[in-house]
Symmetry: D4
Subunit: 251 residues, 8 copies
Amino acid sequence: MTPAELRTILEQVREGQTDTTQAYDQLLGAFRDQPFEDLGFAKVDHHRSIRQGFAEVILGIGKTPAQIASIAAEIVTRERPLLVTRTDRAAWEAVAAVVPGAEFHEAARAITLKRDMPPGIGTIALCSAGTSDIPVAEEAAVTAELMGNSVDRLYDVGIAGIHRILKQRARLEAARVIIVVAGMEGALPSVVAGMVSVPVIAVPTSIGYGASFGGVAALLGMLNSCANGVSVVNIDNGYGAGCIASMINHL
Amino acid sequence: MTPAELRTILEQVREGQTDTTQAYDQLLGAFRDQPFEDLGFAKVDHHRSIRQGFAEVILGIGKTPAQIASIAAEIVTRERPLLVTRTDRAAWEAVAAVVPGAEFHEAARAITLKRDMPPGIGTIALCSAGTSDIPVAEEAAVTAELMGNSVDRLYDVGIAGIHRILKQRARLEAARVIIVVAGMEGALPSVVAGMVSVPVIAVPTSIGYGASFGGVAALLGMLNSCANGVSVVNIDNGYGAGCIASMINHL
Amino acid sequence: MTPAELRTILEQVREGQTDTTQAYDQLLGAFRDQPFEDLGFAKVDHHRSIRQGFAEVILGIGKTPAQIASIAAEIVTRERPLLVTRTDRAAWEAVAAVVPGAEFHEAARAITLKRDMPPGIGTIALCSAGTSDIPVAEEAAVTAELMGNSVDRLYDVGIAGIHRILKQRARLEAARVIIVVAGMEGALPSVVAGMVSVPVIAVPTSIGYGASFGGVAALLGMLNSCANGVSVVNIDNGYGAGCIASMINHL
Amino acid sequence: MTPAELRTILEQVREGQTDTTQAYDQLLGAFRDQPFEDLGFAKVDHHRSIRQGFAEVILGIGKTPAQIASIAAEIVTRERPLLVTRTDRAAWEAVAAVVPGAEFHEAARAITLKRDMPPGIGTIALCSAGTSDIPVAEEAAVTAELMGNSVDRLYDVGIAGIHRILKQRARLEAARVIIVVAGMEGALPSVVAGMVSVPVIAVPTSIGYGASFGGVAALLGMLNSCANGVSVVNIDNGYGAGCIASMINHL
Amino acid sequence: MTPAELRTILEQVREGQTDTTQAYDQLLGAFRDQPFEDLGFAKVDHHRSIRQGFAEVILGIGKTPAQIASIAAEIVTRERPLLVTRTDRAAWEAVAAVVPGAEFHEAARAITLKRDMPPGIGTIALCSAGTSDIPVAEEAAVTAELMGNSVDRLYDVGIAGIHRILKQRARLEAARVIIVVAGMEGALPSVVAGMVSVPVIAVPTSIGYGASFGGVAALLGMLNSCANGVSVVNIDNGYGAGCIASMINHL
Amino acid sequence: MTPAELRTILEQVREGQTDTTQAYDQLLGAFRDQPFEDLGFAKVDHHRSIRQGFAEVILGIGKTPAQIASIAAEIVTRERPLLVTRTDRAAWEAVAAVVPGAEFHEAARAITLKRDMPPGIGTIALCSAGTSDIPVAEEAAVTAELMGNSVDRLYDVGIAGIHRILKQRARLEAARVIIVVAGMEGALPSVVAGMVSVPVIAVPTSIGYGASFGGVAALLGMLNSCANGVSVVNIDNGYGAGCIASMINHL
Amino acid sequence: MTPAELRTILEQVREGQTDTTQAYDQLLGAFRDQPFEDLGFAKVDHHRSIRQGFAEVILGIGKTPAQIASIAAEIVTRERPLLVTRTDRAAWEAVAAVVPGAEFHEAARAITLKRDMPPGIGTIALCSAGTSDIPVAEEAAVTAELMGNSVDRLYDVGIAGIHRILKQRARLEAARVIIVVAGMEGALPSVVAGMVSVPVIAVPTSIGYGASFGGVAALLGMLNSCANGVSVVNIDNGYGAGCIASMINHL
Amino acid sequence: MTPAELRTILEQVREGQTDTTQAYDQLLGAFRDQPFEDLGFAKVDHHRSIRQGFAEVILGIGKTPAQIASIAAEIVTRERPLLVTRTDRAAWEAVAAVVPGAEFHEAARAITLKRDMPPGIGTIALCSAGTSDIPVAEEAAVTAELMGNSVDRLYDVGIAGIHRILKQRARLEAARVIIVVAGMEGALPSVVAGMVSVPVIAVPTSIGYGASFGGVAALLGMLNSCANGVSVVNIDNGYGAGCIASMINHL
């Protein structure tokens, strides 16, 4: 039931065109069965469009190029930005055939089509510990940029050579929120959070071998960070970190 | 907003006592903010009372006797059955002072006050592997009985002496649903499920030592059951198993 | 020893054709060595045929198309329904050559041949959280349908957009038992169980990455459900959930 | 070396009071050994005072009342807010003797002394799933309030009765950042994040038993959240969540 | 049904005192419902008495001295050996009051009453790695001795001083079966098994700290033994190892 | 140093051909550096030949056919039985070219060349729970047979149809030692051990999916067996179980 | 057999006082049964005394004051340094009564009696991340000092305030080997190892809560260190780290 | 800022060519932003060149031959030794085309180009338990040799045949530091450490199956070593062990 329908029913009651019992039954059904979102109020709509912009990302794993292209085409018709993560060049070729202008980001393994989005207030700094962490970092970067943010990349600043990150103090201090991507021992977010006073989103990566257990070591390191301001997302979840950072940067 | 209030608003609209804009705003607020349950429809109410009868069990862990007694008193005033789990004699003494007739079940570590409940259709068979599993089994029994079920207890029928459970085939076949409580290797549910064609609710217990890992060995054994009809609840969750069995027995 | 053989021995004793010592030895041997099931009594048979209908499902993993076809042919000669799980089109082609009428369910990765089965009493509602969970959900659906049940599918109703499942309250309330299939955080069963008062069979799936640990996160979430009525089967075990739901629906 | 000392050296060089070799050695030593923070520049100082306000929280575990009182006294002399977490009444009595005005927060198990802090921009909504999660939630609340934030508490809104949280949509939408505290299956953050478009800080608690594994089930559930905007802190880390929320609320 | 009853029925049939239908029904019931063990044949009885001698050990954990004494008294009246494990002096005092002659083994934390048992064929060698492993080793020793075996103890022969175990080659070679008890890295069984050609029963102990994880490190070490002839029992399960060694020594 | 060399030195000392200082140095070196095994005494040799018969099994994983053939050829020249495990037909073809008479056991994935071995005293019963466990069971069978044992195979006797194993009581009782191979919940060893009084060697297999965790569920089930006489080897370690059973059967 | 005895036998052979057969038997026995260490050669003895100085440390856990005092007294009579770890004041009082001069180190929870030991070549730097890590650090310090090393303590230099450790570069560079003790995320060893070129011994501590899992997070962080030169000991194993550092410092 | 630049600024101040305010600003910037390492002092440089020699190893996993060749070429131009680990022949061919003289080590899966390095003081003994552990051992060997060390290989000396390692006592005692590589139960380091008094670096390997859990069993065994002097690196981290041993051997 839309607000317009509700108003019509009330007017029909007032005019005597609908009796109260019939109106009562219609409204009762709406109360019980309809999601509020279906009412379609402006404010809700506005919220949803922002949220849906995020929510309708396509996770490329386990989908054929044809499937991805088909979902992508549908999203694009609703004038929303397009984001496909964990995908490849073959999928991009299928998407590009139906979504002119779709871009492929090789390092990020992502496909995008930009739309005008409200710009973020400040800059998102994005640190990665090693070169192997870059695909996850780039997924975060592409996500954040698509959502209207400016991203400052600081790659290969892991703690084994601590001067590399110390040197970047000014750029870190200039950011409104910082994403830190790291595998192995996952200690970079603690060091970064100890240098600044803005929120740090930590992304453990599955980079490593042996007792890294596919990113568990990094994940535990980040959860146990002794520095203030560190919160954590799932292993390799660059997309999630990009979303959260964008939310914070749009506040 | 109750159904009566809705009807009143509609009648006021018809009578011209309320204009449609004002009614529109009232109804819109109700659509967006009120839980359907608060409407208080008979059917919903009926469902809730059944569900709340289950839901308002008091988990005794970490609550003082005084706190337990206070919550118990409130539940009882609403004419609902009382169930306190994982509790002790001291709590019972506090409860009994404000809830006359409350019973203490020492083996089950539970306090109850019975109410008339619709009776279950058949019998719930309740097997336990060893004597140490009895407290968890009794928690299931007390729960199921409080909800109006008849429970047939078959205790100490673990698989190390396989004849013990085989001997009970007739009683197992007579049940409408079976709860099986076991620690250590947790294999009894598989054996029981292989003997009958009714659902088996498996409850792993934390009984054991070393590589039982507080019930994990039993839990994994039950989840990997090669017999049909076995589903599993949390370690030591006698209450949960009693609930599910009662639900099935009331279908 | 069959009942007929037992009766014959007794009659031979009565007639003096067999002396009691010889009869004693024969019966003693039967007592000790024969499974009761081999006696072939009607009631037992009846039970077995129900149970065997479930038990003789063929798990397709690790079997060649030829092996699957050979076992399938044998099952079908005994007039039982055929179910092959976790299989593929190649196996189906081999089966179809020897079992005319065998169907292939692509989404469920299953092969079936229907037989008349006693119909379930009510409907089994089957919810899945995301589109990636559908293969496991379909395995449950195919299993339940083969066993004579009517299945109401509610797919893609995960909790990140909570209105999707709330909207389906009426269909959930109409079910006699509900299967909920979910990966990632596995929270959908708790939400569903909080909305109804019938048993919920939760199936964790291995869908996810990183700290989903192949379905462990979903499994733990379901075992720790704070809602009443949730029991759990193994990760990806759509077949098991279908069986249990069918058992409950035939009570 | 302070900026003043640096300036003095340069002036002495200019005046010829110090020769360049001696100045060179002094400066070289400062370059290599001194932390930049010891330079004491205004901007750095300002940052540090904010950060140190957070950093000097006293974790009460494993410290005697006397030790806590002694550290507390030192912090207070530097005009900073005092926060002691995971402590008890005995520690508070020791602290109160040397820090007049120190407050004890029983539910949060915390001791505080307020100072004027720059106020947060909006409100921090704070949800807890069950009553047992309140100590962790209160630790977050006390932390955030001490840091100048206004906190809107929504307690006991767990998902087993989904209407409880749905009812609070307006209050959730009014918040600038949301903390969600939950044990057991840890699904509340996903539901909340699906309803809003602001960042959600999820705090798993160790509440539960059996397969909750001291909060691991909740932690994994939160890390695998299928909703956008959820990041996670360590099990029971109310303090950490309060910090991060305050950082975001001061941006 | 006992063999005598069976014979009686057959004779009554022969004599015409019972008709075949009645006899048929009686026998059918016995076939289906009675465990074979209840028939009470000599051979079965003999087997059972051996097995029950093992099976009726009382695990002292979680039982009061009164409960232990009561079960002990019942076992002793059936002329069987008594074994209570994981118990204490208080329980022994209660047992001794009703079971004259019961002994307390302080190091093994066990209570026994000896009976004549068939002697084992050879000697059981029993090695322990460190002095902290002795309680578990002594539980194995007391168990094996009670079952009629001669035990040769070789304590404190851990591999950090490899000469200690090498020195004992002759005693190891003289054994018919060897029990090896070890905590920490659990490597002693591999070394011992590499020196002999008889079966080695490995018992991991929970001795250790940190990454010993309550005996898991030792358990995994033993399961992964690169030496032939090593099988493993549960952590701290001295009783189980004693049983198995006795079984082997009686072959 | 061989015994003959020792005797020669002593005789040279007696004859004055070697002075005591030179002999002292030679003997001291031998004491310190030589393994006793290199002395080559009869008794030791005899022991070693038995042990080496086991020890020189070739684990086929990660070795090329050429490598396997080369090691096999060397073993065979020393007149010892040949056993290659976890191998394939290609390796067998390479081996057969250099070891005439080498056999390939497809089900066991093993290559053997028999030698006369001292026969085991009794029979080894070998149970497997499901057909998928047969490769591991056959590895145990081939190992045990090669070592001179007679093996009685009881396959597909898992506990979901408990009558299957109960039926085999006589064959189980006839065995001197029993190997039980099972995946999934791993409960078969407990049931078997509860039926007999001989040692049971339990072999968990990696058969299963989801929460079987590659055999961990079965392993834990077996370690926690509540029946007497069960010891456990590594997951899928059919070879190890065959060795131990053979050792016991040769006592 | 001692070298002197060997020489005597040879001389008796030469003199004809012993015939070669008798000598042969004596020597053969010695070859087979005696550990080389029992020969008592000077060099071996010297090595052993160093090693035993380490090996005979008394782990205080689970020992009574009387037991500790008794073992301590025996060690001291052999003129070796005394070290009791994980002990308390009560044990010290018992030790002091029989070992005059024994010292109690409260922070390290250790008892020592110094002996002259060969001094280490350089200094051992000892870093701890937080004040809670000091007991483990002090155990390492007391161990290393007892073994003749000079220890430079750098406490409370955790990475959340990275300037704290950077400031200490000179002291770190002056060390010959560095021990780094840290709980929580365990990242300090990586930072330290990135600043120096000497070996770093990392000691994870069990300090922390929640997902620190009793030191597992720190342990994994250290094992996955991306810096060169980091090796790791067991959780809380300050003693072990002190030993290794002393070994390196004496090379 | 280099030392020369600092000296120039000071001289310009003295000469009046630069005023103090300008100098002050330049120096302040250098204090805050420049890593000390960029100063380029001789001593630091010397340290860095040693450390960087280690740090710039190329981990071959996940890099194309072209990428590896390109990084290798850059390293070689700086006159440093080249080390590529976990690589293959294809990568070597790419490297050899741009780095004449680069060697491929097949067993170690490594590419090197030697440079003159300061020689280690003593020998590094390198033990491996089984032949499958050799690739990891060879990675350690190649690393250590490249860094100027002499390596004594003792392969296939696992503890199942304990005489194999005992025989090598003299070679072990001759080493200044020992690396021990072992999979499965990982007990060899304990045995070796019990025989010597120099540091032992233990490297668990992922060799094994079932409950070896990809090297976790070996890792835990090594962390729990009851022998003094054992520290541990990550699973399969031959490179790391080679580095640490070289550091120790250069002290």
